[in-house]
């Protein structure tokens, strides 16, 4: 039997020590009426047979499409050392570090990850990660609800609609009032957002760059929201934070991010990495694992999980959240990636992607009838208005091996003609030229 080392002789010896005649006696307490009605599974296969089957399935997926598809999830290059280091068994097969003396490697790596997250987002404290960027945003919102004891949430429509749908799902039984403030041509309506915040508001939720790739400065809005006693929550694209005004500089109370772009493969949607950072005063509202530095009995530096009194295994139904795990191995990928890139490598990549996107915009604007949805500054991604429905273009281009972008009509009624186009360092100027040709042909 694969992975079970016991020989029949050894099993016999073990049964004798237990004092029972056979394996069935181990399950005698399960009444006959509770026995399975069926267990109709296939026969086991050899390792190579399973792999052949999975290779066949993998080949049915087309990942060779030249992609300008982002929408919050990006195909960035991953240095080989990331895979190499994070696949070490001592990291991959370890458990949650409840016994810190046996887990200093994981704990120190998380401590370094927390430090990097705080420095990148310019915030004071970070947790050891949650499932994904959407969960991070939801948890941030719940932090604000607990902290302010208010129930109204103001959300910018420019926040990733995938995350907004998750917020809707999680709050369906919680009697929170969600107010969504409509976008204005792909930009945040700062006046309307400001007007929506009052002394009943627990939090205002915004995103930078927003879902349309547009850059915003929320400093003024955050000052106003704070004067009303609301918390400021911002979701960001972490790789771009090396060059953009930070959540801290804008006055955010909680910053969240999807960390996928920091060395994690797209992997059809997961596992990803939910990053969370906050101001000092909010740390006891923060969900999930947090690693702290301390000393051992001999005065040597060491690391432990800390503030555990917030957590479900201690507080049960009174815990800050029900989250029990973090994404330790994904967080490890992110810290290794950030170390390899360094501050300049990260800034270079962010700049390079933005430069390509601006180049693409300039080229594509030459197409007849094409224009930008927003006239405001953008980073690595932009929304292009076409004279025809975007899905029509998608159909034509995917057949030619091109993924031209994300058709915004899927989430934004009225924007059926708009295509969201993202660039990473994996795209080339030549690809952009071909995209222009093909788009031109499809219009």
């Amino acid at each position: 039997m694969p992975y079970i080392p016991h020989t029949p002789n050894e099993q016999r010896r073990m049964l004798d020590v237990v004092g029972i005649p056979d394996m069935d006696a181990l399950f005698a307490e399960i009444p006959k009426t509770l026995r399975p009605k069926s267990f109709d599974l296939p026969e086991g296969l050899g390792e190579h047979e399973v792999m052949r089957h999975l290779e066949t399935l993998a080949d049915k997926n087309n990942t060779r499409l030249v992609g300008f598809l982002g929408a919050g999830f990006y195909d960035h290059a991953i240095p080989a050392a990331v895979d190499f280091l994070t696949s070490r068994g001592e990291f991959a097969t370890a458990y949650t570090p409840y016994q810190p003396e046996a887990s200093q490697g994981s704990l120190q790596a998380i401590f370094e990850y927390q430090t990097a997250v705080c420095r990148l987002l310019d915030m004071e404290y970070a947790n050891a990660s949650v499932y994904d960027g959407g969960t991070a945003l939801y948890e941030a919102m719940m932090m604000a609800v607990r902290h302010t004891k208010r129930r109204k949430i103001v959300v910018d429509e420019c926040v990733n609609p995938i995350y907004r749908r998750m917020l809707d799902c999680y709050t369906s039984n919680l009697h929170l009032e969600m107010i969504v403030v409509a976008h204005r041509e792909g930009g945040s309506d700062l006046k309307a957002l400001s007007a929506a915040v009052d002394t009943d508001t627990a939090a205002i939720i915004v995103q930078n760059p927003n879902f349309f790739g547009v850059l915003e400065d929320f400093t003024g809005l955050f000052t106003h929201a704070r004067s009303q006693g609301a918390l400021n929550i911002i979701s960001v694209y972490p790789l771009m934070q090396a060059v953009l005004k930070t959540p801290g500089a804008m006055g955010a109370d909680i910053a969240t991010a999807e960390g996928q772009s920091l060395g994690l493969p797209l992997s059809f949607g997961g596992p990803y990495l939910g990053m969370m950072a906050c101001a000092k005063a909010l740390i006891r509202q923060m969900p999930g694992r947090i690693v702290g530095r301390t000393t051992d009995a001999q005065g040597r530096t060491g690391y432990v999980l800390t503030l555990q009194a917030r957590e479900q295994h201690i507080r049960r139904q009174k815990a800050t959240s029900n989250i029990c795990s973090n994404q330790a191995l994904c967080a490890l990928r992110a810290i290794v990636f950030l170390c390899l890139m360094g501050p300049r490598g990260l800034a270079n990549t962010a700049t390079h992607c933005s430069e390509l996107a601006h180049y693409a915009a300039r080229r594509l604007l030459k197409l007849p009838g094409a224009k930008l949805l927003s006239q405001r500054p953008f980073a690595n991604e932009f929304a292009l208005v076409l004279p025809k429905p975007a899905y029509h273009v998608m159909d034509r281009l995917t057949r030619r091996g091109f993924l031209p972008g994300f058709p915004l009509g899927r989430y934004y009624p009225g924007l059926e003609n708009v295509l969201l186009i993202a660039c990473t360092e994996k795209n080339t100027r030549e690809d952009i030229g071909i995209l222009k040709e093909l788009l031109g042909g499809a219009l």
Binding site: L41, S106, R165, F268, C324, C339, L340
Partner: protein
């Protein structure tokens, strides 16, 4: 060990992309740009490789150490599963690809993985429908609790309470509370749920009862048929915490036994790596009458064998994940199930339960075992005898670290004093189990003769006992870099 930030030298280049010809000027206006660079480590690639290789060596993992950690099922993680998840056809696939009209055929293989994984999990558990969307076990609990809430709401009734036995994992009450329910804690009797006590708290206000079976004491819930009857009588739902599924593969299907909702921890029973705390994957299964409430999207197989994403479930609770859950994790579990097959999965439970009972028998003269009868895949011992001499469960746990074992779970479940919870799993050889017992007995003997030696353990780990009070009181959560 120095942090990677402490090894940083200003101006040292990383392995980032080629140097830029241009800067940001003209792309991003000054007022939207960052003031200076973030303080990230400036280290060479070899520095990074050495640093994290050294860190890895400070860790116990299943690949390096025996991990008898109760309720966590720390079994061997087969290596070919890593290769499977790394296949570029999966790892490079953008999750939005199949969401566009006409682009579904670009992701047929991945959709088939989802469809087949859900189908296999249905057969293993006897449930009518499954979703792989929840991203961890406790996330599955939350999704399950939300499905329960949606079911009662759909029936037009207000159910505000969820009953959770005191032996349950802390995530159970937390998940129920986060989903908006009030939690009623139920006291166990003789280590299992007492039907009379359950009957006393059941009412038309109760939405669900959350059970773990075998429970966290490693005991089978013998009154299960009666419990099912009681829960049915008030039309509440019965939830199954799948943390302990490793004990019952092929021996009991929770659907057949009367459970309405179940979550599984794929990193436990199905051998995907724990990753030092994550990522996990916590699929949720439901009985027929709850299928309509599962999260969207769902993968449907058409008559021509093609797969597509279906969103047309008006009663669905909605989106618990951005896409389809932790694909890279349940892909490994799918590979594991195909590798082991029917017989293999049955043998998993038989050998896991045998190993736990073997360990229990070999330890029964040395440790107090409060419920000393045939256990399932784990059992709880108590260090009360040792504690009387000043050596507590935690001390024994730390002494085990010195001998090169990860410690068992300690002080859980809360209902056993000085609890030490052992779960050997089916993948540890008899030699390993015997050596472990010998080493543990040596520790217990030393605890008798020289308690101080055990109280000061561990001494051979990279650090000795850490000051957790100081860590919480004097919060130091980041390195000094940039401050």
């Amino acid at each position: 060990m120095k942090t990677i930030f402490e090894q940083s030298v200003s101006g040292r280049p990383g392995v980032g992309l080629r140097e830029l010809k241009k800067d940001l000027t003209g792309l991003i206006p000054q007022e939207l740009a960052r003031d200076g660079l973030p303080c990230l480590p400036q280290v060479g690639e070899l520095d990074v490789v050495r640093h994290f290789t050294r860190l890895s060596r400070l860790n116990f993992g299943v690949d390096s150490h025996f991990y008898p950690l109760g309720s966590c099922t720390m079994k061997y993680n087969p290596k070919f599963m890593e290769q499977a998840a790394a296949l570029p056809g999966f790892s490079r696939l953008h999750p939005l690809v199949p969401q566009f009209r006409g682009a579904g055929h670009f992701a047929q293989g991945a959709l088939e993985v989802i469809f087949e994984t859900e189908r296999l999990l249905c057969e293993i558990t006897g449930m009518a429908g499954f979703t792989v969307h929840p991203m961890a076990g406790s996330h599955g609990e939350l999704a399950g609790a939300m499905i329960i809430a949606a079911y009662h709401k759909d029936k037009g009734r207000k159910r505000t309470k969820v009953v959770v036995p005191d032996s349950a994992h802390g995530t159970n009450p937390a998940s129920a509370a986060i989903a908006g329910f009030d939690v009623i804690s139920l006291e166990s009797k003789d280590g299992i749920v007492d039907p009379q006590a359950l009957e006393a708290v059941l009412s038309e206000d109760v939405a669900a009862v959350m059970m773990t079976c075998p429970n966290t004491l490693g005991l089978f819930e013998q009154h299960l048929p009666r419990i099912v009857e009681l829960v049915r009588s008030v039309d509440a739902l019965l939830y199954y915490d799948g943390a302990n599924l490793n004990a019952i593969l092929g021996k009991m299907r929770v659907g057949d036994a009367g459970f309405d909702v179940v979550h599984l921890n794929l990193h436990k029973t199905f051998g995907t790596p724990h990753g030092g705390g994550g990522p996990g994957s916590g699929p949720v299964g439901v009985c027929e009458r709850l299928v309509d409430f599962l999260p969207i999207s769902r993968v449907v197989k058409l008559e021509d064998g093609q797969f597509f994403l279906d969103y047309d479930y008006p009663k669905s609770i909605g989106y618990v994940a951005p896409f389809y859950g932790n694909f890279g994790v349940y892909l490994k579990a799918y590979a594991y199930i195909l590798r082991l097959g029917r017989e293999g999965l049955i043998r998993v439970s038989e050998n896991a339960v045998l190993a736990a009972n073997y360990l229990r028998k070999r330890l029964e003269e040395h440790l107090e075992i409060p419920y000393n009868r045939i256990c399932m895949h784990e059992f709880v011992a108590s260090a009360v005898r040792q504690a009387a001499k000043g050596v507590r469960a935690l001390d024994i746990a730390k002494a085990l670290l010195d001998k090169g074992y990860h410690a068992p779970t300690v002080y859980f479940p809360l209902i056993v004093k000085e609890a030490l919870m052992f779960e050997p799993t089916e993948t540890e050889s008899l030699d390993t189990l015997d050596q472990f017992v010998d080493d543990l007995i040596a520790i217990l003997e030393q605890a008798d003769q020289d308690p101080a030696a055990i109280q000061s353990a561990p001494r051979h780990t990279p650090v000795s006992r850490l000051d957790e009070v100081k860590a919480a009181r004097n919060l130091e959560l980041t390195d000094n870099c940039g401050l």
